[in-house]
Amino acid sequence: MKCTCYGYAIIVFFALSLTYSIPAQSADMTAYQIVKKSEDLLDQAKDSKADMLMILVNNKGQKRERTLNAFVKRYGNNKSKSIVFFSSPTDVKGTSFLVWTNEKKEDKQWLYLPALQRVRQISPSGKGESFMGTELTFFDMGSQDIDDYTYNLIKDETVKGELCYVIEATPKKVEFYSKVILWIRKENFIPSKADFYDTKGQYQKQGIFENVKNIKGINTPTHIEMHNVQNGRATMIELSNILYDSGLKEDIFTERYMTRGN
């Protein structure tokens, strides 16, 4: 159980981190500047919370659902705390997962399993691993250093009626992907889709970011999909009840709330 819960907290961060983009005067921007612009806006909201529905689809089309509530609080300098509470299915209901992130130190993580009634500190899992059976890896969901990649603006392309920059991101050191192709909407700088290539250079999976809603002035994609073309599986994520800067209390991100529930 514990190994698969990792990352739920971060997925919210991941999903929302893709959203803090605003229209820019982009006539002569380089690929790096386009990506950097999003990066610079990541810490705009001091806190956020959302309900999530995750749908896991296997290669036979069978679906399984997970629902959870997620809370994130940012402190600047890449410090943050996040906590998620699992609502369903019943065998994981009541489970909670807390992460304290500090750029200069290793993440600290705690897991509460109602079946054990104990909060336990756990070590971060392998970044290349899938979590909770989804097509997202811990690496996908973690915050990544923009300077770990080189960027190349390939062309402009229209995706579902929206004009996008097409940018190739190549890691300076290949660990999990050999390259990622990003489609970033020109209108609001929100990614529209992303193609991921494995370390052997083979096309592995595609991320899709849709249903953009303006919430408290922040454009937010509320429907995210990840399709793994190699194994035929997919993961869909629906975000709802999103709130930014609602003044989340500090003690939500503690053992007390892990056991108490949200």
């Binding site: 299915p89 070590s123 909770m132």
Partner: protein
Amino acid sequence: MRFIGAVLIALLWIGLTSLKTEAFQYEGDKGKLSLTGYLEGKAVYAFDGDTPEENPSVELGLELKASSASWLSTKIFLQAVDDGKVINPKNKALFNQFDRIYQDKNPYVNINEAYLDIYTGKVDFRLGVQKFAWGRLDEINPTDNLNTMDLTEGGTNDEIERKIGVPSLKINMYSDLANVELGWVPVYVPYRLPQPDERWFPKVLKPPEIIKTDTLVGDIPVNTIYQDIDLPPDTVGNSEMGVRVSKYIGGWDISCSYFTGYDTLPLMDAPVDLTVKLLNPLALDYQINAQVTMVPEIHRMDVFGFDFTTTMSSFTIRGEYAYFKNKYYNQKLDPVLEQLVTKARQDEIYKDFIVKYLASGGRDNVQVYHIDPHIPIQEDSMKYGLGLDYIHGDTSVSIQCIQEFIPNYDEDKPVYFNKNGVDTMLTFLFKQFFLQNTMEFNMRAAYDIEFQDVIIKPSLKYNFTDNLQGTIGVLFISSKYNDSLLGQFDDNDEIFAKLRCAF
């Protein structure tokens, strides 16, 4: 026959679960209410047909949670059980009782937990039937003593299932300095045991059927009676209390704890009534029968504990230590009983018998001698352990080494589950998820170094849907001894299958 029952249950469930099951949930301005639950069936196939059988069991669990304000909530978790382990129930009560060791009932309702939570600024209160969870080790927590144990499955089931919810008050205080948890159990709730004829009754609590003597009397037949517990008066002095102070410092979760109360596991004295009958006065030919009454005892003890968790690289390290002051242990029964009927002791009895026999004018040709061997003996001890976890994606591995040490061990008074003052247990847990977490392989194992006990419990769990889950597994136990912790269940190897429908 047992498997036929299991198959019928399985078919019934498949029929039931083809319907989409939904929990009841309400969320409004004035609060939240949810009712969830499960229906679970279990079938067991025993490898050894001579061991007591276990029929298929069915369990319905219902959990109600409600909150009417941000500061008030309640939880009630009830289990209605048709328990296949209980073969010949005599107790007609519906609910499991908080004052009995031998519940001896089927079907029954168990109040797993039922409590009220009150949250204030920096203090939380929980009042009602609840389970505490202290310590950092898996399954064996020497610092965790506020709840007693349900041993009707021999302790082979999960820790949370073994633990008995106790009526109590818990107060949690939170501050930047440290978090403090106080637990108060006003009335001791005894551990639970199966009936002596059931599958998981501990063999060490069964006196021998005969006491061997080296005299002309030969073997003395033994009849055993099991008495339920006499609880101490309901006074504050007889209540149990614990306090635990926890703090997160530099990547380490550490706690110190203190507990004063009773042992969570069985302690039993075995007073013996020796019935001496003079068969032939001229030849001084005697017949002796023994009746052993297994009388539960409870003794107060103090436990001073310390535990910690931290992570290093990809590993989680956990540790726990407890010092037990005034703890009691059960002495091994056989040598104690044999000491009661040595030749010298018999000679004393015969001499006394003759005096009384003659004084009664030959009428008292049957006399009863009551002997109290005082089986539980007091030995201060300590128990400590270290655990290491490694998690990588869908794989997790956990190993632990847990040792009990009795510094002033008396070799002339051997106690159960300890050899010369030491008992060391190694535990191993391997978990692997497959098919997007649809399938889970779980391997639990433990090895006792001193007694060479082994228990291995591999199982495979498959989620047919989010609500329907099937598990099949094997329980294998082996030991060189038949009176060690696991060796007493050496014959209980079995295959088990479970089907669970959650809603």
